[in-house]
């Protein structure tokens, strides 16, 4: 027998919006379900995942999220890549994203490798560098597989100085280079003399100044700075202005205390002050440092890394070990600098999406009203981006909060199951590199992660049981 309430029905509308509008004008409670065609995943996988959901996946995810939320990432010092990065050797160059061979690398990544080989004095010019890179004598590996993260091309060569970040709760370390600033820079694939000489200056002047200062200061709590920066308008991926400022406040006294040459110390402070993105190379390794201990939790569907190499977009998932699941890296729909269009853009590149993986960046857009022009121009749109990410995360950050959402924790712990079943892709704030080597940045905006790697991870997870 049919059972009907006596009241006017409350309606969920899936499909033609006009039906909802007509109901609303009559004063009926109605919600539009933002429906999209489902992803191409066979039902058998859904059944399998659903059967695992309660007893296997949920407890594993709970554990993973606890580990992530209890991490404490601090800056402990600096050193040269060759000395501290596990597995680093003189013929190894690290790059962003999942593994890739020289022949499949995009323009900016090749440009950055050319620059790195010139910087390392392994080649005199681009031609020689390309030859060497293609010869097989140089080994390439993802930053992520050596406890590192690198923005854009993410190139780390043996002589480069790196920050050392430690997760004090779990004892693991991560590393990242010093950020070069905007314009023609190595990470965007530029390798002109100006780029190389800046890198040399960073090695010879900036690095010693900072190294001494950090040693003097002891550890610096990077996550504490991140939490404060979120309250000051950063989302710590495309905007690191507050984070950079806070870092200067922390480090400046130590720079003065450990000064050997006032000119050099002033130049170092000037350089950091002139580079709003300086802190990105601290927010990235800090994000990785808190995510890495959550790897290899059997049954967990939490994403522990999202990274792009400009050709492929790859993810790693806690429950599936260190396997990379990849798909084609998308070309961002971005705001382009004058004179450039989407035609000039390289597909998405960089390890910086580790910030989103750790509950920052696109996931914290609601905290960064100053950059809403990247997402359509209104704060409402920025807030909606963050709100939609709660639908694909297993939990919320207990440390990172968003003022505009009444200090709600940022969405944290991207859950592959929710990405697939709710059909929502993670949003990533991103800079856009020119597709040709040597040109540099041409725009910035947001990009949606492709579904393909998530579908592969979902199926793999299902097949493991």
């Amino acid at each position: 027998m049919l059972k009907l309430n006596k009241d006017k029905p409350k309606v969920i509308n899936i499909g033609l919006e006009k039906f909802a509008v007509d109901l609303k004008t009559q004063g009926i409670d109605v919600v539009n379900l933002l429906w999209k065609p489902p992803l191409p995943v066979e039902n058998s996988y859904h059944h399998k995942i659903n059967s695992l959901s309660e007893n296997i996946i949920a407890p594993a995810n709970k554990k993973a999220l606890e580990i992530i939320n209890s991490g404490k990432a601090v800056l402990t010092g600096m050193d040269v890549a060759l000395k501290v990065i596990p597995g680093m050797h003189k013929d190894l160059i690290l790059h962003s994203g999942p593994p890739i061979s020289w022949d499949r690398m995009c323009g900016p990544m090749r440009g950055a490798i050319i620059g790195a080989l010139i910087y390392e004095d392994r080649a005199k010019n681009a031609e020689e560098a390309e030859k060497l890179a293609a010869s097989g004598k140089i080994e390439f590996a993802p930053c992520h597989e050596h406890n590192c993260t690198g923005p854009m091309a993410g190139i780390i060569s043996p002589s480069m100085p790196v920050f050392i970040i430690k997760n004090e709760s779990y004892g693991n370390f991560t590393y990242a280079t010093q950020n070069e600033g905007l314009g023609k820079v190595l990470r965007y694939g530029a390798y002109s003399e100006e780029v190389i000489s800046r890198l040399k200056w960073m090695e010879k002047v900036l690095y010693p100044v900072l190294k001494r200062a950090i040693e003097y200061a002891g550890t610096i709590n990077i996550q504490g700075l991140i939490a404060q920066a979120l309250n000051m308008g950063d989302e710590l991926h495309n905007r690191n202005r507050a984070g950079t400022s806070l870092f200067i406040r922390q480090i400046a006294p130590a720079i003065i205390k450990t000064m050997t040459d006032p000119e050099e110390s002033a130049a170092a402070l000037d350089f950091i002050n002139g580079n709003d993105h300086f802190f990105l190379n601290l927010s990235m390794p800090a994000s990785k440092a808190i995510l890495d201990p959550a790897r290899n939790i059997s049954g967990s569907s939490i994403v522990v890394a999202m990274a792009r190499n400009g050709t492929d977009f790859g993810i790693q998932v806690s429950g599936t070990g260190n396997k990379w699941f990849t798909g084609t890296a998308p070309v961002p729909d971005a705001l382009y600098f004058p004179g450039f269009t989407k035609e000039d853009a390289n597909p998405d590149i960089g390890d910086s999406s580790i910030t989103e993986t750790g509950g920052l960046g696109g996931f914290a857009l609601a905290a960064a009203p100053a950059i809403v022009q990247f997402v359509g121009g209104t704060t409402k749109e920025a807030i909606n981006y963050t709100l939609s990410m709660y639908n694909i995360c297993f939990g919320e950050s207990s440390l990172y909060q968003i003022p505009a959402l009444d200090f709600r924790g940022t969405p944290l712990g991207i859950d592959v199951v929710k990405v697939i079943q709710n059909n929502i892709a993670p949003v990533i704030d991103t800079g856009v590199a020119h597709k040709n080597p040597g040109v540099g940045q041409v725009g910035a905006g947001v990009v949606k992660a492709p579904f393909e790697p998530f579908i592969k991870a979902y199926k793999t997870l299902a097949d493991m049981y």
Partner: protein, 505 residues
């Protein structure tokens, strides 16, 4: 002829929106054909058939929107692509509404937003619809499944599942219902009252409920079942469940059952239920037929009469004069009728009235009579009545109740044939339908030759958002004979034809 195309990835718009965008693109300078469509394999076939499958969209995924423009030159094509992108990316009108409609990404969130939901109205593409309906049933929601192209196996399992939980599963292909006084999808603003309706026919429900309202009556519930419910495969699951409900419902005193004739098995179930009924049940299966003699069963053939009779049985004082428009018979300029319908059941009734009057069907795209079946609905001939809501016309276009462009095109075509003396149209008002049909029709009517007679049936109530009286007045001023009762409109047309024929004899 340059064809330009573009993929818009990661964006989803409903099909009506895309069709309206396509329509706007077709009106741009130099654009010969334009499509904005989701690149499903079915839609690719459609594009291929119309030579619009441009190479640029080969890499589109099943979920991407593609734009394809055929234009007289490359510049106009490129401009149309830009315009298309702008339209697709424009925030939905909803955001400019005074009362914005809350949105949710998941069913769970939607239910939470409403603080508990009762009904899920589903109008997405058929191949995805059953899965969504199933999820909603799991959550204990009644379903109005507007989508068509849902398999009969899925329909059966959804209905079985629904009934186990005491839930309505109206549809698939159910365009209308009125639940606790709330019109859903294509439905009219009708007061609440004592008459309950179970309908397997969309415009049948609209015509009857509107007529009841116009006569001063009201509706307790009007359930739609979808057109296939009476078939053997479904076994009348919803027809019988809804009828049972109305028989028990304390607010219902008179019951109407309407739709194409159900299969014999289902009829038996209905008669069995009705034989125990203490309430009058009025059945209308749209054709002349014999029903068993039961004390409370009445069989009525026309939609208007069904409404009249129900009102009478419900004790509503009906002033018949209220509906019967009376016009002197005009002289026709030529012998033939062309009926251009948007409502399927109305179209069927028009064919039936013609058959009753003249002993043979008009040419049409509805009935099974092979001789009178038009192979191509566009190629009307002699006396023809066509349903422009049939699949052959609606692939890639919004329904003619929403989008008048196809009917206007057809109207102009018919007017060019001097042998056509009279045109019959239905104009459906109500929620879901075009917000101002007169605005579309009046300029077209004014362009018609003065001696061409146009008869309009105006379906709707004074509570409908289009303002029925204004629509009526504007259509009349444009020269149309406007009828409130569909049956009267059809009879009037037949009288005109008869008078023309007898004058020629």
């Amino acid at each position: 002829m340059p064809i330009k195309a573009k993929i818009i990835a990661g964006k989803y718009l409903d099909s009506v929106k895309l069709m309206l965008i396509s329509r706007e693109l077709r009106s741009l300078k130099g654009v010969l054909e334009a499509v904005a469509i989701v690149a499903t394999s079915e839609n690719r076939e459609i594009l291929k058939a119309s030579n619009m499958l441009a190479e640029e969209i080969n890499s589109a995924s099943e979920n991407d929107i593609v734009i394809v423009i055929k234009a007289d030159n490359a510049k106009n094509a490129a401009e149309a692509i830009n315009k298309a992108e702008e339209l697709i990316n424009k925030p939905s009108a909803n955001e400019y509404n005074q009362t914005p409609i809350p949105q949710a990404f998941t069913l769970e969130k939607a239910i939470a937003t409403l603080g508990g939901a009762d009904l899920c109205l589903i109008s997405i593409a058929g191949k995805y619809a059953a899965a969504e309906a199933e999820k909603a049933l799991e959550k204990g929601l009644h379903i109005l499944l507007f989508s068509d192209n849902v398999s009969i196996e899925d329909e059966l399992s959804l209905k079985q599942k629904a009934l186990k939980k005491g839930l309505l599963m109206m549809g698939p292909d159910c365009g209308t219902a009125i639940l606790n006084g709330v019109p859903l999808a294509f439905a009219n603003n009708v007061p609440r009252g004592k008459i309950g309706i179970v309908s397997a026919s969309g415009t049948g429900l609209q015509e009857i409920s509107s007529t009841i309202a116009n006569l001063g009556g009201g509706i307790s519930q009007a359930f739609g079942t979808g057109g296939r419910d009476g078939k053997k495969e479904i076994g009348g699951l919803m027809l019988t469940a809804c009828l049972e409900y109305l028989l028990e419902d304390e607010n219902t005193e008179v019951i109407i059952v309407i739709g194409k004739p159900p299969c014999e098995e289902v009829q038996k179930k209905l008669w069995e239920l009705i034989s125990h009924s203490s309430k009058p049940v009025i059945a209308n299966f749209l054709i002349p037929m014999q029903v068993p003699e039961l004390p409370n069963l009445y069989y009525v053939r026309s939609l208007s009469e069904t409404a009249f009779f129900a009102c009478k049985k419900a004790g509503i004082e009906v002033k018949t004069a209220k509906l019967a428009e009376d016009f002197p018979l005009p002289k026709l300029r030529g012998p033939y009728l062309r009926g251009l319908y948007s409502g399927g059941t109305l179209c069927q009734e028009a064919i039936q009235v013609y058959l009753d009057n003249f002993g043979c069907e008009p040419f049409n795209n509805v009935t099974d009579q092979a001789y009178f079946r038009l192979t191509d609905g566009w190629q009307t001939k002699e006396n023809s009545i066509i349903d422009l809501g049939a699949d052959e016309f609606t692939i890639g276009r919004p329904h003619p109740m929403i989008d008048y462009s196809l009917r206007l095109q057809k109207l102009a075509q018919e007017a060019n044939d001097p042998k056509v003396g009279i045109i019959l149209l239905d104009v459906v008002l109500g929620f879901g339908a075009h917000p101002d049909p007169a605005e579309e029709l009046v300029p077209a009517l004014q362009k018609l030759p003065a001696d061409l007679v146009v008869v309009c049936h105006l379906l709707g109530t004074d509570g409908d958002p289009q303002n029925r009286q204004k629509q009526k007045k504007e259509l009349e001023q444009a020269g149309a004979y406007v009828f409130t009762s569909h049956h009267s409109a059809c009879e009037f047309v037949c009288q005109c034809l008869r008078s023309y024929r007898s004058a020629k004899c």
